[in-house]
């Protein structure tokens, strides 16, 4: 049976088709000389030689800042209007299999009893087109967290590159199948040979089960090891902003004395004011406590509480860290 193919010369046709039908096409492209997910309108903008985009595409479903309500304050009181979100169809092309997994983690949080429709409506309008990895850098550790370039969870369409730069197309979900049907003219049939996937070597000394057991044992919570391993953290929060599963946010009002907006803004558990009480008490006064919280969230709270992955092994937090704090070193320590 012939394969469905997306030819490299048809990528522009696909982008045009998406844009013509009111959708936005997000792909890895250069911005400030780095490869990031951003809207593109032409195939020439799309970068194909990259490991992972610097940013996570979570910002498409969980924007860095989002207005949830508008208000005006007048003589006769307050007028308040909730915002609605009617997202356009959004295609993210070139996601990696590791980060595609993160959407189910975010969804678990944003639908925990109370449904955050700002998130769910955006995710429902998102089509994830994954391109499986044919190379990795030394930081990639998907296999260490039990994922791999062959993982299809979270992808609507899964692409494998061919030697000639085309893509072999596999529809994973109904959403993916509907997308292909809607933009059928960009796809063709043929037969091609996929490039070999690059499967990063698992960090052999890391054992997720051991990490989980050790974190569950509350007697390790005050181990000196937390301070020792994470003392160099400066609390910049960069790791949380690039992380595909970090979901923390603040709710703030912005505007003038008479009118403004209530916004959901990205926040980070690494910031010293994040948990600061009005009384001055701070449950996480020291940076190591804040770092511990993030690690616990990834390897205990997400898996135990939300049955989902807190860490997908994309390596972004390691690449972006200004003090070279490597989460896998902490994972190794807790695998002992």
């Amino acid at each position: 049976m012939a394969d469905r193919i997306l030819k490299k010369e048809d990528l522009g046709r696909l982008i045009a088709s998406v844009n013509a039908k009111g959708g936005q096409f997000i792909a890895p492209a250069l911005d400030a000389r780095q490869v990031v997910f951003k809207p593109v309108t032409k195939a020439e903008e799309v970068v194909t030689d990259y490991i992972v985009a610097r940013n996570s595409y979570k910002e498409l479903v969980f924007p860095q800042t989002e207005v949830v309500a508008d208000f005006t304050i007048g003589k006769h009181g307050v007028d308040l209007k909730g915002r609605d979100v009617a997202p356009q169809e959004t295609i993210v092309f070139g996601a990696r299999p590791c980060e595609a997994v993160s959407l189910s983690s975010l969804r678990a949080i944003f639908t925990w009893d109370y449904i955050d429709e700002f998130y769910t409506k955006r995710e429902d309008a998102l089509v994830v087109i994954t391109v499986a990895c044919t190379k990795a850098d030394d930081v990639c550790f998907c296999t260490t967290v039990e994922l791999s370039p062959e993982t299809k969870t979270g992808s609507d369409i899964y692409l494998k590159e061919t030697e000639s730069g085309d893509y072999i197309v596999e529809a994973v979900t109904d959403k993916g199948r509907a997308f292909i049907e809607k933009h059928a003219s960009a796809f063709s049939e043929g037969s091609a040979k996929a490039k070999a996937l690059f499967i990063p070597e698992k960090i052999g000394t890391i054992d997720l089960k051991k990490i989980s057991a050790r974190l569950k044992d509350k007697s390790h919570y005050d181990d000196q090891v937390w301070g020792r391993l994470t003392r160099k953290c400066i609390g910049c929060g960069a790791c949380t902003f690039v992380c595909p599963t970090c979901h923390c946010f603040d709710i703030t009002d912005e505007g003038t004395a008479f009118a403004g907006e209530r916004r959901k803004n990205w926040d980070a558990c690494q910031f010293d004011t994040f948990t600061l009480h009005a009384s001055g008490h701070n449950p996480r006064h020291y940076q190591y406590q804040r770092w511990r919280n993030r690690f616990m969230c990834k390897f205990n709270y997400y898996p135990e509480k939300f049955a989902s992955k807190g860490c997908v092994g994309c390596g972004r937090c390691i690449r972006v860290c200004p003090v070279r704090l490597d989460i896998t070193e902490v994972m190794e320590e807790f695998s002992k």
Binding site: A69, I73, V78, W112, Y114, E117, K218, F249, H277, S279
Partner: protein, 278 residues
């Protein structure tokens, strides 16, 4: 939007009570008449209160669910939002989201004696339980209230303290920290845990509820243990910084426990099982 979980209800400030220096209470009614009638909550639950233009803060609902038609909140002016709320006057509009969180299982306490222990601005959540139980007085045994503050001026709900003092079906023990007494102070002088031990309420068939500064709670729990209370019969309410109130914003967790969703009310036994993340 069919369901915007971050959109507050508008409420009118119907009355303002000066409780203590920088501490005041608002009596709030929903602008929406239907909601005013239908709004219900359980004692111990909390809400997010908006000063529009400044943001939201989390306080308990300090009134009792047995008092319908309004809610009350009590707060200390300490930051941007509480500062903004303090500038509001009777008739002004603010926002409320809630009720959120779990509650004190008052219905399970029928036939039991109750001991309430509060310190400073920790009385508001306990006050909701106290009024709830006083409004259903015949369902409970002896009721004891131990309440202390740093100084006489810092005691909140002074009128109500007088009312409880005057009732013969409540045993009220008031205290101020050493140095906080005035010349005509008739209550105790001492710290709440010590005063509690001296008052020595019987542990048998008794439930204790406590709220106050973390350090006070720590020693109150020890005092209750000494008095023979089992950890399952001691309740407290944890106050952590919150932004969403609905388990998403990620900051109120004590270890793996999200206070907004799985609290704020816990037994001492549950608190002792938590990660040391206070």
């Amino acid at each position: 939007m069919s369901n915007n979980i971050y959109l507050p209800h508008l409420v009118t400030i119907e009355d303002i009570y000066e409780e203590a220096p920088d501490v005041r209470s608002f009596r709030l009614v929903f602008k929406d008449k239907a909601l005013r009638e239908s709004f219900d909550f359980k004692t111990g639950q909390f809400g997010l209160y908006s000063a529009f233009g400044l943001g939201e803060s989390t306080f308990c609902i300090a009134s009792a669910p047995t008092r319908k038609g309004y809610i009350q909140c009590t707060f200390r002016r300490s930051g941007r939002v509480t500062g903004g709320l303090s500038e509001l006057s009777i008739g002004d509009t603010m926002g409320f989201r809630g009720p959120y969180g779990n509650f004190f299982p008052v219905d399970e306490w029928k036939g039991k004696n109750l001991v309430f222990i509060a310190g400073g601005i920790g009385l508001p959540p306990v006050r909701s339980v106290i009024w709830n139980c006083l409004d259903r007085r015949e369902e409970f045994g002896d009721i004891t209230v131990v309440y202390g503050a740093r100084t006489v001026a810092d005691l909140v709900y002074k009128n109500e303290l007088q009312h409880w003092e005057d009732r013969n079906d409540v045993r009220l023990i008031q205290a101020v920290d050493p140095g906080g007494q005035t010349e005509d102070w008739k209550g105790k002088v001492g710290f709440v845990p010590t005063v509690l031990e001296e008052a020595a309420p019987k542990a048998e068939n008794t439930v204790a509820v406590t709220c106050g500064p973390p350090i006070m709670i720590k020693f109150v729990l020890k005092a209750l243990e000494k008095l023979g209370f089992s950890d399952d019969n001691v309740y407290t309410t944890l106050e952590n910084k919150m932004k969403c109130g609905v388990g998403k914003c990620g900051r109120c967790n004590v270890g793996d426990i999200y206070v907004c969703k799985e609290g704020p009310v816990y037994t001492a036994a549950e608190v002792k099982r938590m990660y040391n993340d206070f």
